[in-house]
C-alpha cells in the first residue's frame, strides 16, 4: 500500500490545484513507486586556449614564463587570458617573468588528490613571479610544509628540458631559493 501523495502543504487558497481524475493511475496502487532515476550524461568538447594563452603555452615549451602587460595600467598578467581584467583592453605586449618569486598565499593539503605521489601533508601556494603582477598556482616541495610562509622566496623546479610540453606542468614544483624573505611592500596588494 503506497502512501497518499500530498499535492500541497500550503493553506487553502494560497496554492491549490483542481481535483484531478486519477482513475488511470489508480490501478497502479500495488506497484512500487519510482523514487529516483539515474540518467548518466556526458558531452565532449575540443578546447582551444585562445591567442594569449597560446603564447603563454608556447613559451612554456621553451622553458619561459611569459606574461603580458596591460597598455593602460601597466600590470603584467601571468598567464594573460587576453584582457586586462581591470581596464578591459587587450594585453598584447609580451613580458618574460622570472622563474623565481615570492609566496603570497598558501594552504596545507592533507588529502591526496593530485595522483602524483607527494607525501602529505604538503603546501600548495600562490607564487608571485618576479616581474609579474598576479601569482601562479604551484606546489612547494624540498622543504617541510611547516616552514612555508607568506613572503618566502622560491624558485621553479623544472622538468628536464626533453620532457617540456606546452603545459604549466613543466614546472614540477617550487622550492626555497635560499634568499631572505621579500619586502612585504612588494606583494602588499596581493595579501
Amino acid at each position: 500500500m503506497t502512501e497518499p501523495i500530498e499535492v500541497s502543504a500550503m493553506p487553502d487558497g494560497l496554492w491549490s490545484q483542481p481535483a484531478v481524475d486519477t482513475a488511470a493511475i489508480d490501478v497502479l496502487g500495488g506497484v512500487e513507486p519510482v523514487r529516483s532515476i539515474r540518467t548518466p550524461a556526458s558531452l565532449t568538447y575540443r578546447y582551444t586556449p585562445g591567442l594569449s594563452q597560446s603564447r603563454f603555452l608556447n613559451a612554456m615549451a621553451e622553458g619561459k614564463i611569459l606574461g603580458e602587460r596591460c597598455p593602460q595600467c601597466g600590470k603584467v598578467y601571468v598567464p594573460s587570458r587576453g584582457a586586462c581584467p581591470v581596464d578591459g583592453v587587450p594585453t598584447t605586449e609580451p613580458v618574460e617573468v622570472a622563474d623565481r618569486g615570492t609566496v603570497v598565499s598558501y594552504c596545507i593539503v592533507n588529502v591526496e588528490f593530485t595522483g602524483r605521489g607527494f607525501d602529505i601533508p604538503y603546501a600548495s601556494a600562490l607564487v608571485l613571479p618576479d616581474g609579474g603582477d598576479i601569482p601562479l598556482f604551484g606546489l612547494i616541495q624540498e622543504t617541510s610544509h611547516e616552514d612555508v610562509h607568506v613572503g618566502m622566496r622560491v624558485e621553479a623546479k623544472w622538468k628536464p628540458p626533453e620532457e617540456w610540453e606546452k603545459s604549466l606542468e613543466n614546472i614540477e614544483w617550487w622550492r626555497p631559493s635560499g634568499e631572505p624573505d621579500a619586502d612585504p611592500e612588494t606583494y602588499r596588494e596581493l595579501v
Binding site: T39, T44, Y45, L51, R81, A83
Partner: protein, 353 residues
C-alpha cells in the same frame, strides 16, 4: 508612465563557422570596443551591463565571469547575466531602465558552439526525466515540428524551401553571414533529406560570434545619437516545457507577446525572426500576424548566421539598424529560446517619426 528607451549603438562580429584561434573574451572584446566607440562612450558612462550566454556551448564553467575581463569592470560596475540569448539580457536592461535605476545600458550576447556538438548540447535543456535521457537533438525535434506542420495541412515542403532560398539569397548582402547562397527553392527541393522533412538548407548553420547593443533612455538617447531606434513595445512569453503538451504547429506564446508588444497597432515594414529552421518561420509569421507585404529577415536571418545566445539579440540589431538608417520605419524583432520555439520575445522598434 513608461520611459522611452532606444537602441543607440550596435555591433556584431562576423558569424564564423568556427573561431579557433581566439578564446571567448578575445572574440568579444572587438565588439565591445566597437559598440562603445561608435558613440564615443566608455564603460564608466554606462549605468548597467547585462549579458546572455551559456557555459554549455564551450564547456567552460562560469565563462560569463571570465568574459567580464573584456568589459573593463573597474571601478566596479553594476552587472547582471542571463543564461539565455542576449535578447533576454536586453529585456532585463530595458526593465532596469524603466525602474529609473539606469539611463544607459550595455547589452551583449556571445556564443562559441564550435568546441562541442551543438545539437546534442541543446538536448540538455529538455525535461530531464522523460525527454533528455533519450538525447533527441535539436534538428530531430525541429523535424518533428516540421512534420506536424505538414500533417496539419498548414504548410508544404515547397514553402519550407522558399524560406530557405530567400534567406540564403538575402544573406548575400550581409557581410557577417556564415553562409549565403544563390539557390532556388526548386534546387533545394531536389536535395535529399537531412532529417525528414528537413533538408540541409532548411537548417541554420552553427556559428561562433558575438553581438552588443547600447540602450539609452529619453534625452540621453538623443544626446548619444541622431538616429535612435526606439523600443515601442517589448514582451516575452513562454509555452509549457513538455513537447507532447504543445501544438507544435502554433506558437501561442509568440502571439501573446506580439499582442502585448503592440505589433498590430500599426503597419510593419520589416521583421527579423529567430527561426533556426524554415518551418519555424511560417509558424512565427502566422503567430505574429505578418502579411506577405512584410520584408522578412532581410539580413538572411538565423538560416544564414546563427551564433547561439547572440542570434536573438542580432535580430534586434538587424531591425534597429534598418530603422536607424531609415530603411524601415517600423520593425519587429523576435527572439526564441528552448526547444521548438518554446519561449518567445517580441520587440517593436520605430524611428523618430
Amino acid at each position: 508612465m513608461m520611459r522611452d528607451v532606444a537602441v543607440v549603438s550596435t555591433a556584431q562580429t562576423p558569424h564564423a563557422r568556427r573561431v579557433e584561434d581566439r578564446n571567448e573574451v578575445e572574440m568579444l572584446m572587438p565588439v565591445l570596443e566597437a559598440v562603445k566607440g561608435a558613440i564615443g562612450v566608455t564603460q564608466e558612462d554606462l549605468d548597467f551591463t547585462c549579458s546572455g550566454s551559456t557555459d554549455y556551448l564551450a564547456g567552460q564553467g562560469f565563462s560569463f565571469v571570465t568574459i567580464l575581463d573584456g568589459v573593463g569592470p573597474y571601478p566596479p560596475i553594476v552587472e547582471s547575466h542571463v543564461e539565455m540569448d542576449g535578447a533576454w539580457a536586453l529585456y532585463e536592461a530595458w526593465v532596469k531602465i524603466q525602474t529609473g535605476a539606469a539611463d544607459t545600458a550595455l547589452v551583449y550576447g556571445y556564443g562559441k558552439s564550435s568546441p562541442g556538438d551543438l545539437p546534442r548540447v541543446l538536448s540538455r535543456q529538455l525535461d530531464p526525466y522523460y525527454t533528455a535521457p533519450l538525447w533527441p537533438d535539436s534538428v530531430g525535434l525541429a523535424a518533428l515540428q516540421g512534420r506536424a506542420l505538414l500533417d496539419s495541412g498548414k504548410a508544404t515542403e515547397a514553402e519550407f524551401a522558399a524560406v530557405a532560398s530567400r534567406s540564403r539569397a538575402s544573406a548575400q548582402a550581409n557581410p557577417n553571414a556564415t553562409i549565403s547562397l544563390d539557390t532556388t527553392a526548386e534546387q533545394i527541393l531536389a536535395e535529399p533529406y537531412l532529417v525528414s522533412p528537413l533538408r540541409k538548407d532548411d537548417c541554420a548553420p552553427i556559428s561562433d560570434g558575438a553581438a552588443a547593443v547600447i540602450l539609452a533612455a529619453d534625452d540621453r538617447a538623443r544626446e548619444l545619437t541622431d538616429s535612435p531606434a526606439w523600443i515601442r513595445g517589448i514582451d516575452h512569453r513562454i509555452d509549457v516545457h513538455g513537447l507532447g503538451q504543445r501544438d507544435l504547429t502554433d506558437s501561442p506564446s509568440t502571439r501573446l507577446a506580439a499582442e502585448k508588444a503592440g505589433v498590430a497597432d500599426a503597419p510593419v515594414d520589416m521583421a527579423e525572426l529567430h527561426a533556426c529552421f524554415s518551418p519555424q518561420e511560417l509558424i512565427l509569421r502566422e503567430a505574429l500576424g505578418l502579411g506577405d507585404d512584410v520584408d522578412i529577415n532581410p539580413s538572411g536571418g538565423p538560416l544564414s548566421a546563427n551564433t547561439v545566445m547572440a542570434a536573438g539579440l542580432v535580430r534586434v540589431i538587424e531591425a534597429a539598424d534598418r530603422v536607424a538608417s531609415g530603411d524601415a520605419g517600423r520593425a519587429v524583432a523576435h527572439a526564441t529560446s528552448g526547444p521548438c520555439l518554446q519561449q518567445n520575445l517580441v520587440c517593436v522598434i520605430e524611428g523618430d517619426d
